[in-house]
């Protein structure tokens, strides 16, 4: 009864359109939403209903929410949409879209907006940072300095020059194209694979990742995760990349066959890796911890103060567009991704 009363209070704000908020947000984001909308907040202090019950209860209030803000932890599938039939718009703040059944949304006429290019710059920067770290041994030589080995043992072993390396980018979308632009400035040669060649770029296109790897010194995973791209970097691709090759993953852990990657590193079949994502986060194969030629990170490529505030502005922009009958800023269509 208390929980239902709480929801009714949230819904009674009057005048403004209702938004179903299904992710925690920081204070500035919460304030910005409340300024413009009646916010039915799953994470409101004292709100005790579990997620699906909350969604169902929100669907039952007078003037139920027509839009929802979600993140990657919310599965938008038939049962979710059944629980909240008033929803006509899903605004996702996640970087990927693998948690949304786009076909089901399209069937029901539910519009989907993604996070657009909010994260693209920071992820691209991080990919370049990881690559430089692996090739130039920044983290590894830093450990060496911090444990006193520079004074005790002398110079750290040499790294490898970035300039002139052929970088094979898997996925030349918002992130991949920014990575390409940055690495060109370091004298890298850009190769890529994506679903179709892009006429607007002069980089060399490869129809599959195996051929891309065979002609690249570095492989950067910058594609979405879906059925076609699961384990897109597999044992064959790693072999094609070769013993001087380096892999950087700022996509999803499951884009790479992690077990095969560990074997390839252990056996010296590739030269190194920079990884921000893993198949079973937060579990990281312990064997990697003792390797000097890998850089390990904890899925933080998107996490800057700037992307936070960009996300806030972008999410509100999409919500305002929807409620005023304008086209969404960043609509996603079911047929734009191979699902």
């Amino acid at each position: 009864v208390v929980a239902t009363l709480k929801l009714a209070t949230m819904a009674a704000a009057g005048g403004k359109p209702a938004v179903l908020l299904l992710r925690p947000v920081d204070a500035p984001f919460a304030a910005a939403l409340r300024d413009r909308f009646r916010v039915l907040d799953l994470y409101a202090p004292g709100q005790a209903l579990p997620a699906l019950a909350f969604v169902a209860a929100a669907a039952a209030v007078p003037e139920p929410p027509r839009a929802t803000v979600i993140w990657g932890g919310v599965r938008v599938d038939a049962s979710f949409l059944d629980a909240a039939p008033s929803l006509r718009c899903v605004v996702s703040t996640a970087a990927g879209l693998d948690h949304i059944d786009l076909a089901e949304c399209a069937r029901r006429g539910v519009a989907v907006a993604n996070s657009g290019e909010v994260y693209s710059t920071d992820v691209a920067d991080y990919a370049v940072g990881l690559l430089l770290d692996v090739l130039r041994r920044v983290s590894a030589s830093e450990r060496y300095v911090r444990r006193g080995s520079w004074a005790a043992q002398g110079d750290y072993p040499l790294g490898s020059k970035l300039g002139g390396k052929r970088v094979g980018i898997i996925g030349l979308g918002n992130i991949g194209s920014r990575i390409a632009k940055r690495l060109e400035a370091f004298g890298c040669i850009i190769h890529y694979n994506s679903r179709k060649p892009k006429d607007s770029v002069s980089y060399k296109y490869f129809p599959n990742v195996h051929e891309l790897a065979a002609e690249s010194d570095v492989l950067v995973v910058a594609c979405a995760l879906n059925k076609a791209t699961r384990h897109i970097v597999n044992k064959d691709v790693l072999e094609a990349l070769g013993k001087d090759g380096v892999v950087v993953n700022i996509g999803r852990g499951a884009n790479i066959d992690e077990a095969e990657l560990v074997i390839a590193l252990r056996e010296g079949k590739i030269a190194g890796a920079g990884l921000d994502v893993f198949e079973h986060e937060p579990k990281v194969p312990a064997e990697l911890f003792s390797m000097e030629n890998v850089v390990l990170s904890r899925h933080v490529a998107v996490l800057t103060e700037e992307s936070r505030s960009d996300l806030r502005a972008h999410t509100i922009g999409n919500l305002e567009a929807f409620f005023s009958g304008q086209p969404l800023l960043t609509p996603v269509h079911a047929d734009s991704l191979a699902q």
Binding site: T121, D122, A124, D125, Y126, V128, G129, L130, L132, D133, L135, R136, R137, V138, S139, S141, E142, R143, Y144, V145, R146, W150, A151, G154, D155, Y156, L158, G159, S160, K161, L162, G163, K181, R182, E184, A185, F186, G187, E281, P282, V284, A286, F289, V295, L296, S297, R298, H299, V300, L303, T304, E305, E306, S307, R308
Partner: protein
């Protein structure tokens, strides 16, 4: 004069390929073959034979060494920075000096950018965290600050400074610079002093040569002018920066962070920095790739051969 008669004193083990080639092409003397207290005797015994010295960033031909080598004709440094070569004395004695410019420009510029991204985005810190088994929950992170778009202020727009500018432009970073004279670079903003440069930059990069005018060019005043969240990147020489001032600014939180490849007393690094997670400390690896060290070695060898053959030196400084 035959190549093998050129006596070359190699001051420190710096590169296996270089040492091998010096040994096979010339008459090699290894300075570290003599015990530290026997160095003067070693030099006396070989002074008529030693006509060339090969040094690097850390060990080079200072006044005392030059005085001890009356037959010295050429100093070929395995580095681009020759602040440890006594240039006035070389000029006075008619000794030629060569260095290794251009071949290491890319690597040093790459490292400058790599250090900046590593420091701002806290990559080594994330790596330490994961390796220590501390990543237990998916949502466990700290927010860092974006690299792209930050104002980059470069002290010294020479070969390395320009290479850094080109790279950061690809990240939409506005480029500012200071040097003694303004350059014709309309897309970069000139500041007539380092303090003004620091006051208008988020990331300050030291990329100038070390000499009397640039010692401690980054001093307390400059550090204070750099915005509180500012980042200092040093890929020049340790003495470019007043290190105790830098350390206290970092420890007291008056400076946002630093990426340091060089230190005043290498290989010693102020231990107070080890407790900080907003600094990236690397052991003078600016030119430290297989490809570049090979190219630097070939340049040293090429300069020595040109000298023997009385041909124009490849990369003379004096």
């Amino acid at each position: 004069m035959a190549m093998e008669s050129l006596g070359v004193l190699l001051l420190h083990p710096m590169n296996a390929y270089l040492e091998q080639e010096l040994d096979s092409r010339f008459r090699l003397f290894r300075f570290w073959d003599s015990p530290p207290d026997g160095r003067a005797e070693f030099l006396r015994a070989n002074s008529s034979a030693i006509r060339a010295v090969v040094g690097n960033a850390g060990y080079n031909a200072d006044a005392a060494l030059i005085d001890a080598l009356p037959s010295l004709e050429i100093v070929a440094s395995f580095s681009v920075g020759i602040d440890r070569v006594d240039l006035p004395k070389c000029r006075e004695r008619g000794i030629r000096v060569t260095n290794t410019p251009d071949v290491l420009t890319d690597d040093v510029a790459d490292l400058a950018v790599g250090l900046a991204i590593a420091a701002l985005r806290k990559i080594p810190q994330a790596d330490r965290y994961v390796r220590a088994g501390l990543w237990k929950a998916k949502g466990d992170y700290t927010l860092t600050t974006r690299f792209s778009g930050k104002r980059v202020g470069i002290i010294g727009l020479g070969r390395i400074g320009l290479a850094i500018a080109t790279r950061v432009e690809a990240f939409d970073c506005p480029v500012n610079y200071y040097q003694r004279t303004k350059k014709d670079c309309p897309s970069y903003t000139y500041y007539p002093s380092v303090v003004e440069l620091a006051a208008n930059s988020d990331i300050l990069v030291v990329a100038c040569p070390l000499n009397e005018q640039t010692r401690h060019i980054v001093n307390r005043e400059v550090i204070e002018a750099l915005v509180p969240k500012g980042l200092l990147i040093n890929i020049g020489r340790g003495p470019h920066v007043d290190e105790p001032e830098l350390v206290s600014a970092l420890v007291e939180g008056r400076l946002g962070g630093a990426g340091l490849d060089v230190f005043e007393d290498e290989p010693n690094v102020p231990e107070a920095l080890f407790a900080l997670d907003n600094v990236v400390l690397v052991p003078h690896v600016g030119s430290g790739t297989h490809e570049t060290r090979q190219a630097m070695a070939d340049l040293v060898l090429g300069n020595l051969e040109a000298h023997v053959l009385k041909k124009p030196l490849l990369t003379p400084v004096v």
